[in-house]
């Protein structure tokens, strides 16, 4: 056992901190949330130059073959800086899935583009009535000349508006919640038959509902084996969820700091409000929740790549359940302790709170993941 970060990891963290304080201030970020794109293409280029876009991807495709802990460090900073760029969707989730399961041809075609910042991806996996069930797939893939033809609807596809490619789950066999018969396709977003209805999300990012009408997908766009994609989707989602846990951690650390600073400067009854015990104990509880969150985020980061599905689920769903609850507590209390300053759009606290809220509900909320851990209990 070893709980230290390497020199390289500490340097990476330092680089990201400097980038955020120099190039990603609150007003800059707020302007980005209101811009048509919803993120900064310049920042995306900088991430490519820093090597972040290839961090978890293999060296043979231009990446750095980084570990789960490396990704954790980046995602903590993504949280702290409330970075809007689709790093998580493109690099961690879709990049991770392609590394894990795609053909060499797809890897060769896509991964270097991700690393260089030339292509962005989004994961079109959920459907309107499916809630957090990846196996709920009504979208169909029918045999057609030269491959497949996709038709159906995908809902709330995060970062779809900025994506060049979509990873689309579609049913090639079976009924809509069958485990077997789910397949995964790499689809260009500008392919004929793909339409996208974009909207902003709670935290200022972008998502879209996607409709596919007789979209042609060649045999070479299938990722993994036909009908057997659920497993690889779950593995990718576990990587993604572990990264979200780290992002939540970064936000909680930042919120605690902001709350602490506020409580030391804001005066009422002639005293800093941080001198009142009711508030002190709340902040102690927020600190404890955040330290426990860090431990869970580490557990998730280290176990998410595991081949043992039960071990992975216990770690990743355990972390997501725990952090969902802890982040609700820290987020709500940070707003509470800021008083009315907590509920205005001009102060960063509300933005952190909204991002935390959204993370809890992304790819399964605390109840969903607690249920998954509970089912494994023995």
């Amino acid at each position: 056992m070893d709980f230290r970060y390497t020199e390289e990891q500490l340097a990476l963290q330092d680089t990201l901190q400097r980038f955020i304080s120099r190039d990603y201030g609150f007003e800059q970020r707020r302007a980005l949330t209101r811009s048509p794109l919803g993120y900064s293409p310049q920042a995306w280029t900088q991430y490519a130059e820093l090597g972040l876009l290839g961090l978890p991807l293999p060296e043979e495709y231009g990446g750095l073959s980084g570990s789960g802990v490396d990704v954790m460090l980046v995602m903590e900073s993504v949280g702290q800086g409330l970075l809007l760029e689709p790093y998580w969707s493109s690099v961690v989730l879709c990049g991770g899935l392609i590394c894990d399961a795609a053909s060499p041809a797809i890897k060769q075609a896509i991964l270097p583009q991700i690393v260089e910042g030339k292509a962005k991806l989004a994961f079109a996996c959920y459907e309107a009535q499916g809630r957090y069930d990846l196996g709920y797939v009504e979208c169909s893939a029918a045999r057609a000349a030269g491959g497949w033809q996709l038709s159906g609807k995908k809902s709330v596809v995060l970062d779809a508006p900025s994506a060049d490619y979509l990873l689309v789950s579609a049913r090639t066999a079976g009924a809509r919640t069958d485990v077997e018969g789910v397949s995964l396709f790499l689809v260009r977003k500008d392919a004929p038959g793909v339409s996208v209805r974009s909207y902003p999300t709670q935290s200022g990012g972008r998502a879209a509902d996607v409709e596919l009408k007789n979209v042609a997908a060649g045999e070479d766009t299938v990722i993994g084996s036909v009908g057997q994609a659920l497993n690889i989707m779950e593995r990718a989602v576990d990587l993604g969820v572990a990264a979200l846990c780290a992002e939540a951690l970064g936000i909680m650390v930042a919120l605690n700091q902001a709350t602490l600073n506020y409580s030391k400067t804001r005066k009422q009854f002639g005293l800093p409000i941080g001198s009142f015990q009711a508030l002190q104990h709340r902040m102690a509880d927020m600190f404890i929740a955040t330290e426990q969150t860090r431990s869970m985020a580490i557990i998730a980061a280290i176990n998410a790549p595991s081949d043992d599905a039960a071990e992975r689920r216990r770690a990743v769903s355990g972390a997501k359940a725990y952090i969902g609850q802890a982040s609700r507590f820290v987020g709500q209390q940070a707003v509470q302790l800021h008083g009315a300053m907590g509920v205005v759009d001009d102060v960063v606290v509300s933005h952190y709170f909204k991002r935390l809220t959204m993370i809890d509900m992304t790819f399964g909320d605390a109840d969903h993941h607690l249920g998954r851990v509970s089912e494994l209990l023995r």
Partner: protein, 403 residues
């Protein structure tokens, strides 16, 4: 960053496990397995067995006869110890007074006391709280007045855990009332056989005699039993509390408790199926399991950080204490609720090792049942002792958050 045990650590675990398997007397482990009453001799026998192996004090450095183990090794040992149902070692001796002696006592005191502590020859208890001084410990009033080569001690200590067995007590006493109250406290070692000491039991809500009042009536204590400097005792007292709390997370005990809870819940039947298949109950178990999963890593992170930075452990232990006490309380609560109405009988005689249920009762009343509700009641102490959890939050606010 790596959460896997190294091959060396795994080998170490195997060594600890096989030693405990071979040497732990079955009569002791059976008592613990069934929650039966432990007596002084059980603790002392186990301490002597460990000492004979060189493991009498796993948290002490080698130069004082300890095992000199690192944080991970100590963690493994505690896990294996708890899982095998071996008794905990006496914290008052090994984790409280001993580190104070190592850091602040003179060589003569160290040479006299430490060897007697590690062999189990001396049983120590803690003389901190007083009737008027609980959370506000520094207001303590038990006085020690210097008269020639003695102090004369008068006053009352309370909540002295297992003080009925103690050979010695380490006491915070007031040696001055002139400056701030923290500056008039001294740390004194008192022989429990001294004339003028009387011990009175306090029976707790589980019906057990675990804690005591200790009265001092003109007790003469040789001046050489003062630790460190007169009126500097508050510094040593706080140092001791931090060391006490390093094991307050009680990860090994919590893991054992969780395993026990699952065993009990899987044997209890609710609506014709195992209670563990009732999702409402199982989710509550899962919730505690997650909290413990996190605390295990938090505990190791905190302890490893101080070790690798070569500094003494700091106020972070307060968080371990709060979480550890909450988890063990929740486990106790769930175990009791798992029993359903079989938690209602309250049979003191059933806590003795040789107790057997009569046939009518035995039909529904499992042998592990008698201890469970008493444990639930007893465990309320964990969020109160060693500095209440509210005091721990004050410490976090002040020393970590800077409020």
């Amino acid at each position: 960053m790596d959460l896997k045990y190294t091959p060396e650590e795994e080998a170490f675990r195997a060594e600890v496990r096989s030693f405990i398997d071979a040497e732990l007397p079955p009569d002791i482990s059976n008592k613990i397995r069934l929650g039966r009453r432990l007596h002084k001799d059980d603790f002392v026998r186990w301490q002597k067995i460990l000492h004979a192996r060189g493991w009498g004090a796993v948290m002490w450095p080698k130069r004082f006869g300890g095992a000199g183990w690192n944080v991970v090794q100590q963690h493994i040992f505690e896990e294996e110890r708890a899982d095998a149902c071996a008794p905990p070692q006496l914290a008052f001796s090994l984790r409280m007074v001993a580190p104070v002696l190592m850091s602040f006592a003179n060589a003569a005191q160290q040479e006299h006391f430490l060897p007697r502590i590690i062999t189990g020859e001396q049983w120590w208890c803690q003389g901190y709280s007083e009737p008027g001084s609980g959370s506000d410990l520094a207001s303590l009033r038990t006085s020690a007045v210097r008269q020639g080569d003695h102090y004369v001690v008068n006053g009352q200590k309370t909540w002295n855990t297992l003080g009925q067995y103690a050979d010695w007590i380490f006491c915070l006493v007031r040696t001055s009332t002139e400056a701030r109250q923290q500056q008039g406290i001294s740390f004194l070692l008192v022989d429990m056989k001294s004339p003028g000491i009387s011990v009175k039991p306090i029976i707790t809500l589980d019906g057990e005699h675990e804690i005591n009042e200790i009265w001092f009536d003109n007790v003469k204590v040789p001046v050489e039993n003062l630790v460190g400097e007169e009126n500097k005792g508050w510094t040593y007292a706080k140092f001791l509390l931090v060391h006490e709390r390093t094991n307050n997370a009680g990860i090994g005990m919590c893991k054992r408790g969780l395993k026990r809870l699952k065993e009990i819940a899987s044997q209890q039947v609710s609506n014709g199926r195992s209670l563990l298949e009732d999702s409402r109950f199982r989710d509550r178990v899962a919730q505690v399991e997650l909290e413990l999963m996190a605390l295990e890593i938090t505990n190791l992170r905190v302890l490893s950080a101080s070790a690798s930075e070569q500094r003494d452990i700091g106020p972070e232990v307060s968080l371990l204490k709060i979480k550890g006490s909450e988890i063990i309380q929740q486990l106790g609560e769930l175990m009791m609720h798992a029993l359903g109405h079989d938690a209602l009988p309250f049979l003191h005689e059933a806590l003795e090792a040789e107790w057997m249920a009569d046939p009518l009762l035995a039909k529904h009343y499992p042998p592990y049942a008698p201890a469970i509700s008493g444990q639930y009641f007893n465990l309320r102490k964990t969020s109160i002792y060693a500095g209440s959890n509210e005091i721990q939050k004050n410490i976090i606010s002040k020393l970590i958050l800077g409020l």
